[in-house]
């Protein structure tokens, strides 16, 4: 099937099998390997990307379902050589260790901060509850997201 979509602002077009998963389109066809696979059952969130601004778990979305949509992956966060405040905050607050869940955490948090500019700790915890991290114990991820919110509010 023909699929046309925009990925991090670039147009992309290809013929794909109807059953091809979006995550495989991204990782193997487009070589955007920042989006990871962790569970195949929509539980871990390592594969989270944004589809028309909404976080989706790309391991349970078919590539053809993304036809005509705007996709954004972790590779699209950095703009003109400038890191997104979330990326800076994850580094400064030690919100990552092995880095495997990080792209999914960043994308979920990115979408969340569009809706909630000054989140409480509980707000952040609920927002990222669909993304599993086995390394950090979440404390510093929560801090990083709040830190990023403050930076964005401060005009960073």
């Amino acid at each position: 099937m023909r699929v046309q979509l925009s990925i991090n602002g670039d147009k992309y077009e290809a013929d794909v099998e109807p059953r091809l998963l979006l995550v495989h389109l991204l990782r193997e066809n487009l070589r955007l390997t920042g989006t990871h696979i962790g569970c195949d059952t929509t539980h871990c969130g390592a594969c989270t990307v944004l589809m028309d601004g909404r976080p989706v778990k790309s391991c349970t979305v078919f590539a053809v379902q993304a036809h005509g949509r705007q996709l954004m992956t972790v590779e699209g966060l950095e703009q003109d050589g400038k890191l997104h405040p979330l990326q800076e905050s994850f580094m400064s607050e030690h919100g990552l260790q092995c880095g495997y869940c990080t792209p999914g955490m960043l994308m979920t948090s990115y979408a969340f901060l569009q809706k909630n500019q000054a989140p409480s700790e509980d707000d952040v915890r609920t927002a990222i509850s669909g993304n599993l991290c086995r390394c950090t114990g979440y404390v510093n991820i929560v801090k990083a997201v709040q830190h990023a919110a403050a930076k964005i509010a401060g005009g960073a």
Partner: protein
């Protein structure tokens, strides 16, 4: 803590931002599945639905008709090369692919090789296997009963399912001490089977280059060098010599012990690549990961702890049945079939102790690997901390006061435990006191009394654990004969920058940062000027890898020792440049100064340049060193954790309200990273305490085989951890460090379990096995008339 270097140099004690992070936050890490090679083939595995069954027939014809499928590999195919069985790390044997029968549900039965991931999966679905089911043995107690079906029929003389018996300590003295004691408490404790479930599963790409006659394997492994040697030993007879094998462990998405073993999938991928000459990728999915990869724990423990009337602990006796699944594939030092379980006297000054462990075969996947812990230390800590709490409650002494009374005292170090370990250093009362102050212990006990009077359920639990990490001294520690040293090689370039390579492999711990900090501390070369590399056996010095919190205690020590060799040579060069004797030089981080001559000095960078441009006559050029460090002893990190829980008396749900963790890992390299390790470790302590278990029904069907029913804590269940530390340096480690990666996972479950029992003690509850699920608590609450 005090620092000896400036933040710009970034030696020990500085919270440097991690060198790893710029690639990870951009999605630019390179994990195994990110590697894609031209012409690469894909492997998918057919797995058994039965826990025990004879294989009658494997029909591959339909699978081979699937477009893209190239081959179906069975045990019969591997048997032609004698590769259908392989040795385990504990010198047992494990099937790569079965010829006669399967021994657990989800066991590998056949492998499909295809041109794409999807074609391989299609092929796997089309392989038809006919099974003849055999009686299933799930319970290790039943496995040892007379008349139980013998599972390992491949072992000619095997007449039962008993693997080994192991015991340690003075039995007679322990029996006597227990008989003479005033009070004993006895408890059965089951520590269930769990899975590390790193978010990245396991996998590899094997690439055999027929022209170069060289095998390269990108692999999710925590121990690349040991894997290389194992591959050479296992496959030497088919021509894989060790110099023709290169193992690359790229970025690893969490390990926690699960990436130590050699899994059948790796071996099949290697065999497929050697036969086809094409790169072959095998990546397991989450269900394969949870159902077939090595498990942790599964210890059935009976413990007896004895004390005098005044509350002085005297002796400990433990009998344990270890369920190993169908083979003993535990990842332990060879000499210790039950790992370091015999550190089970914990933080207490017991005069006598005796431990017995028996291993049993069952129809479950193999394992006995760690779950973020050093070889069964969690099992040991959970036992002694539960037993200590039981005894304190039994004697009606406050559990904190009881621990204070029985701790090994600071002046007793180095302390020889009743089971023969020499604890290097500790201040157990100091850590507990700090935790009590931080959480407000006395106030919490008052609050608990008030709440209890109102019928509310609140509990306070303590765990004052001692770990044993950094395996280990070559006298006692080896894996398949390989001594458990580790290594660092440093090359200082002419311009004063450096590269350092190690025999370990980070899986998220931040080695690229912390090793650079150790070198910065020792050499005064800024950490940012030092590149750290690990995980490529063609370039890194030989080492036994990263697990059991051994990186800092062993390879971290090697870093300091190699740096000191570099510094010794640099000193000779400095003396030459300054035209003084070596004895006339003093060292301060980064430069040699001439005693009594202010301003006359040479920096380490000056010495590096001279090492290549103006070295003394008679000295070899260059500034390099390597150290293979054999630790004189293990290190013994410790800590005290206090947990407060509230229990919903209607539903039985346990809510962790507060959790204070005071850790002591000796001298701290990077406080930010240490705290991060504790946060993560605590969460992997919370997980088995309240949520995680992989159990089996009577037919050997796995329960908890996907993230649908194997519950990893999310950010919502995980409390906001409160952390702190004390510092008691290791006296034998070159930088006084001890290791921190696993302390919290080891110490936390007992604190949580103790808090829950503390909340329910007045009802008559004495023990609850982890995971403490709402269902278990609710049942107890009903039994004791609290809810209906």
């Amino acid at each position: 803590m005090d620092t000896r270097t400036t933040p710009e140099v970034g030696g020990m004690g500085h919270s440097l931002k991690r060198k790893e992070d710029p690639r990870f936050i951009r999605g630019r890490g390179t994990y195994v599945d990110d590697v894609q090679l031209p012409g690469m083939l894909y492997l998918d595995i057919v797995r058994s639905p039965h826990a025990h069954a004879r294989i009658v027939k494997i029909d591959s014809s339909k699978a081979l008709a699937v477009p893209g499928v190239l081959a179906v590999i069975t045990g019969q195919d591997l048997a032609k090369y004698n590769l259908h069985w392989m040795p385990t790390l504990m010198s047992d044997t494990q099937m790569v692919l079965p010829v006669e029968k399967v021994m657990y549900q989800a066991q590998e039965v056949a492998a499909v090789l295809a041109t794409s991931r999807y074609a391989a999966a299609d092929g796997a679905a089309q392989v038809e296997v006919e099974y003849d089911p055999l009686p299933v043995v799930v319970d290790p107690h039943k496995a040892l009963e007379p008349g139980a079906p013998v599972l390992r029929t491949d072992k000619k003389d095997k007449k039962d399912n008993h693997i080994w018996h192991w015991e340690w300590g003075d039995k007679a003295a322990t029996d006597r001490a227990i008989a003479e004691s005033d009070v004993t408490v006895k408890q059965d404790i089951y520590i269930p089977r769990i899975h590390v479930a790193s978010i990245e599963t396991c996998g590899c790409i094997a690439h055999f280059d027929k022209v170069m006659d060289k095998l390269t394997v990108w692999m999710t492994t925590q121990a690349p060098h040991a894997i290389r040697t194992v591959f050479a030993l296992v496959a030497g007879h088919v021509g894989l010599a060790e110099h023709k094998i290169r193992i690359i462990s790229p970025d690893i998405g969490g390990g926690f012990g699960g990436k130590v073993p050699v899994y059948p999938g790796y071996v099949i991928a290697v065999a497929a690549s050697v036969l086809t000459g094409k790169p072959v990728k095998w990546i397991e999915d989450r269900m394969e990961n949870l159902q077939a990869d090595s498990f942790a724990r599964d210890y059935h423990i009976t413990a007896e702890l004895a004390a005098k009337k005044d509350g002085t602990l005297t002796a400990l006796r433990i009998k344990t049945l270890a369920d190993h699944g169908y083979t003993d594939a535990a990842a332990n030092p060879s000499k210790f079939p039950a790992g370091l379980f015999h550190v089970c006297t914990g933080s207490y000054d017991l005069k006598a102790a005796h431990v017995e462990v028996d291993g049993a075969y069952t129809n479950k996947p193999p394992g006995g690997i760690a779950y973020r812990c050093s070889f069964r230390v969690t099992e040991a800590v959970h036992t002694i901390e539960r037993m200590t709490d039981l005894m304190a409650h039994q004697l009606n002494i406050d559990p904190a006061e009881f621990r204070m009374k029985n701790f090994v005292k600071p002046e007793q170090f180095p302390y020889k435990s009743a089971l023969g370990w020499e604890y290097d250093s500790g201040n157990y009362a100091g850590a507990l006191k700090k935790a009590m102050d931080m959480i407000g212990y006395a106030d919490l006990r008052r609050e608990q009394a008030e709440k209890r009077a109102r019928g509310e359920l609140m509990g306070i639990g303590i765990s004052s654990f001692t770990e044993i990490v950094g395996a280990g001294p070559s006298k006692h520690f080896d894996i398949l004969g390989l001594k458990m040293f580790d290594s660092c090689e440093i090359r200082v370039h002419p311009t004063g920058k450096a590269i350092a390579r190690f025999g370990t492999k980070s899986q998220g711990q931040g080695h690229e940062t912390t090793y650079a900090q150790i070198l910065a501390e020792e050499l005064g070369i800024p950490a940012k000027d030092i590149q750290v590399e690990e995980g490529d056996t063609d370039t890194a010095p030989y080492g036994l890898g990263t697990y059991a919190s051994r990186s800092t205690p062993v390879a971290g020590a090697a870093a300091a020792m190699a740096a000191r060799k570099v510094r010794d040579k640099a000193k000779k060069i400095a003396a030459h440049l300054l035209e003084v004797a070596e004895d006339d030089l003093d060292w301060e981080p980064g430069k040699f100064t001439v005693k009594g001559v202010p301003g006359k000095s040479k920096t380490i960078q000056d010495c590096a340049f001279a090492a290549y441009t103006n070295h003394p006559q008679g000295m070899e050029a260059g500034l390099e060193a390597v150290s293979y460090y054999d630790p004189p002893n293990l290190t013994y990190p410790f800590g005290s954790y206090i947990c407060v829980v509230d229990i919903d008396s209607g539903t039985g749900e346990v809510k962790v309200r507060r959790f204070v963790a005071i850790d002591d890992c000796g001298n701290i390299i990077n406080p930010m990273i240490v705290q991060g390790q504790v946060h993560g470790g605590l969460t992997m302590g919370l997980a088995p305490a309240l949520y995680e278990e992989i159990s089996y029904d009577e037919h050997g069907n796995v329960q908890g085989g996907s993230f649908i029913d194997y519950l990893l804590p999310t950010a919502v269940e995980t409390p906001k951890w409160e952390t702190g530390h004390t510092i008691t340096p290791s006296p034998h480690h070159p930088i006084g460090a001890k290791g921190i990666g696993e302390s919290a996972t080891v110490g936390a479950p007992a604190a949580i379990a103790n808090a829950v029992v503390d909340a329910l003690w007045h009802l008559g509850v004495r023990h609850i096995d982890i995971p403490i699920t709402p269902a278990k608590v609710w049942k107890l609450l009903r039994q004791h008339g609290v809810t209906d």
